[in-house]
């Protein structure tokens, strides 16, 4: 479980996050949603420690992370897997080397054990016979799946996904969403997904936090999101014609 307490962040004189608090449960797909520029990615980066918040704390299963010493931070980070928006695969390494990378650097496993684990993870995300391909030779959806495999290979306890289905066709996007949900459920990990895609919200949002201009406006699940009375959230949900049609029905 990840808890965030009163997270605030500003860049120069621009305040991006205003005292965000929340609790992301283990075994659930937790979503942070909101329009572009509302601070979703900044919040995610504060949670994983890529950006230090001006105020507030993050707790990983009760362990304080934001102000932790270097050793504890490293220990917690080695339990984290993250899927970046563009995949963030290492260009100079093959798919296999990318997925094996955390094992190479962070473990003392034998080469055969590492290869077995890599093949298992690639198979789990539905990728086979791509081990020797370079990231430039695979599609956007495959890159995301390789990113998920790399995030999982070291038995991560926490999975973070930054807009996992951006730039993907609707079918592949749903497949990635379902994969994230299945993995979360199967391995009982704590997953946080940043997205502005309503399909993802309706498909996998077990806990949803809605941000608007750096403020937490609403939290709940996909079952009650459409019944919200929060004006900003209504505008966000029903921005497209399809959702308005569903609302009218």
């Amino acid at each position: 479980m990840i808890e965030i307490e009163n997270i605030s962040k500003s860049f120069d004189d621009k305040q991006v996050l205003y005292g965000i608090s929340g609790r992301f449960e283990k075994g659930k797909t937790n979503l942070i949603i909101g329009a572009s520029g509302t601070g979703k990615t900044v919040l995610l980066k504060c949670i994983v420690g890529l950006i230090k918040p001006d105020e507030g704390n993050v707790f990983y299963d009760g362990r304080e992370f934001t102000n932790a010493d270097r050793d504890l931070k490293t220990e917690i980070r080695r339990e984290i897997g993250m899927l970046f928006q563009g995949g963030a695969l290492f260009d100079s390494k093959t798919v296999q080397q990318n997925v094996m990378f955390p094992l190479d650097v962070l473990t003392t496993m034998t080469p055969s054990d590492k290869l077995e684990r890599v093949n298992f993870c690639l198979e789990r995300v539905g990728l086979e016979n791509v081990n020797k391909k370079m990231p430039s030779e695979i599609s956007g959806g495959m890159k995301k799946r390789v990113g998920i495999a790399r995030a999982l290979v070291n038995n991560s306890q926490y999975l973070f996904c930054d807009e996992p289905n951006s730039g993907l066709d609707p079918q592949t996007a749903i497949m990635i969403d379902n994969l994230i949900q299945e993995i979360t459920d199967e391995y009982q990990i704590t997953t946080i997904v940043v997205t502005h895609d309503m399909n993802s919200v309706m498909e996998i949002g077990e806990y949803i936090m809605f941000l608007h201009q750096g403020h937490k406006v609403w939290e709940g699940s996909h079952e009650n999101i459409s019944r919200t009375e929060a004006k900003e959230l209504q505008e966000f949900i029903f921005a497209n014609k399809l959702m308005r049609t569903i609302q009218a029905q």
């Binding site: 270097r70 490293t74 993250m82 928006q85 963030a88």
Partner: protein
């Protein structure tokens, strides 16, 4: 602060050995061709231009060999090749790290709990410190050999005179001086370029700007260090 961050929270020694070998191939072995071409022609041109300027009958031709040797060992090999090295390796280090930064590959390393500065930059600096002096030694040989080829093929000096010239009053300290310079230049080029690339912000345009800035700053640093080391050590 940046250099200090390279030495905290490091990975295993074995990891660095592998990375240093890989970087040495990129930094050193891949630079041999350009260094060989530049240094051979540098020596050849030095020999021809020295001969052109030797108009006094009182100065023996073997002085051409002596001048090629002294210019090569003390200045041309360590300094001019450093400018070439900054252009090739410095820009490569900077643009490589800059691209990794803007495509979130550096963030990916950080999230895994890896000190990205140490993992990515330290092996490049160590590889440059090992390989650049070796490239300078190669450049010295090829430059002197280039002078020999140009001198003997164009009949401006005989083989015996050239060899006599390059052996005349040889001071081994100049080699030590060149090696000290080459280590200093390697450190400046690799650390400045890594710094510029590692802290790139923005997109592809900024990667290009960082790369240009890395080469420009490295060249200025090389020339300043060249002057300071000459003042201090000669």
């Amino acid at each position: 602060m940046f250099l200090g961050s390279l030495f905290v929270n490091r990975e295993s020694f074995k990891t660095y050995v592998r990375l240093i070998i890989d970087e040495s191939m990129l930094v050193g072995v891949d630079s041999i061709f350009i260094v060989a071409i530049v240094s051979t022609f540098m020596g050849a041109v030095t020999a021809v231009q020295t001969a052109y300027n030797l108009v006094s009958p009182l100065i023996e031709d073997y002085i051409i060999g002596t001048l090629v040797r002294d210019m090569t060992v003390q200045e041309l090999a360590p300094t001019v090749i450093a400018i070439v090295f900054a252009g090739k390796v410095g820009s490569s280090i900077s643009s490589g790290l800059g691209t990794m930064r803007i495509t979130e590959q550096i963030d990916a390393l950080e999230v895994m709990g890896i000190n990205s500065a140490s993992y990515l930059v330290l092996p490049k600096i160590i590889a440059a410190l090992i390989m650049y002096p070796l490239l300078v030694i190669l450049a010295m040989f090829l430059s002197i050999y280039g002078g020999y080829i140009a001198g003997t093929l164009t009949n401006i000096i005989t083989e015996q005179e050239y060899i006599y010239g390059i052996r005349l009053d040889f001071n081994p300290y100049t080699i030590k001086f060149a090696m000290v310079k080459s280590v200093a230049f390697a450190f400046l080029i690799s650390s400045i370029s890594a710094y510029k690339g590692y802290f790139t912000k923005g997109g592809a345009l900024e990667v290009g700007i960082a790369s240009t800035s890395a080469v420009t700053n490295s060249c200025i640093a090389i020339l300043l260090a060249d002057y300071l080391l000459a003042q201090l050590l000669l």
